[in-house]
């Protein structure tokens, strides 16, 4: 799977990176990334996840070729 992160998450992760591990769903991905980078745990907790331009829930089953976007809380305007 490919991961894209936005805004403040770029201070904690590369903007875009590959993950070849077997991670079954968004909840597991969130746990894995929080473990890898404990400084980002708080932000990841309140972030939203999207696949193919649609928000997905924590139980979304990740497919091997998915690109998963991780969005911190919006701050437009």
């Amino acid at each position: 799977m490919k991961i894209q992160v936005f805004a403040v998450l770029k201070d904690h992760f590369d903007k875009e990176f590959e993950l070849s591990r077997d991670i079954k769903d968004i909840a597991s991905l969130k746990a894995y990334l929080s473990n890898q980078n404990t400084g980002a745990e708080g932000i990841l907790q309140i972030s939203r996840f999207a696949v193919h331009n649609e928000f997905v829930d924590l139980d979304y089953a990740i497919k091997p070729n998915d690109t998963i976007c991780i969005f911190p809380p919006s701050s437009g305007g």
Binding site: V8, C69, F71, P72, S74, S75, G76, G77
Partner: protein, 157 residues
């Protein structure tokens, strides 16, 4: 909620929700006239020269553009469903935005003014909180800060 062909064709359909170049407030306002609308409300969110005691140099807006465009269109549609609006448009800057420049514009018009004010506030509130757009403030001391621009929310991450 049936909308007149006028509003969709003349104004809303042509206005992109995101713009990498300075927003043309005058052109947008000119497009927001409607013969049945007695009230036009325009909100312009502008870059201030300071925020929470720090001198701002400039802002930069990052967006997930495809999703932001879709979400802003949905927010506009929801506003039309909630209020009898003649026109509702919104446009948000992306990229680097200088002090005094407009970061976001929302224009609503309706027969009576109450709806135009209400819908305008609804649209800007949802754009700020939901659309996949993030502000980064760059300060004159060289530091930067992501997000948390909104006075109604907890401090930045």
């Amino acid at each position: 909620m049936i909308r007149s062909a006028y509003s969709l064709q003349a104004a809303e359909a042509e206005i992109p929700a995101l713009s990498a170049t300075p927003l043309d407030v005058v052109a947008l306002l000119a497009q927001a006239h409607h013969p049945e609308a007695g009230a036009v409300v325009l909100f312009s969110g502008e870059v201030r020269n300071h925020n929470q005691g720090q001198d701002v140099d400039y802002l930069e807006y990052e967006a997930h553009e495809a999703m932001a465009e879709k979400m802003i269109a949905e927010i506009i549609n929801d506003a039309h469903a909630k209020w009898p609006l003649k026109i509702a448009v919104a446009q948000h800057r992306t990229g680097k935005v200088a002090i005094g420049e407009t970061a976001v514009i929302v224009i609503t018009s309706s027969a009576h003014r109450h709806e135009a004010y209400e819908a305008n506030q609804y649209i800007i509130h949802r754009i700020k909180h939901e659309a996949t757009i993030w502000k980064c403030e760059y300060f004159t001391d060289g530091s930067k800060k992501w997000g948390g621009n909104c006075s109604c929310c907890p401090p930045a991450l």
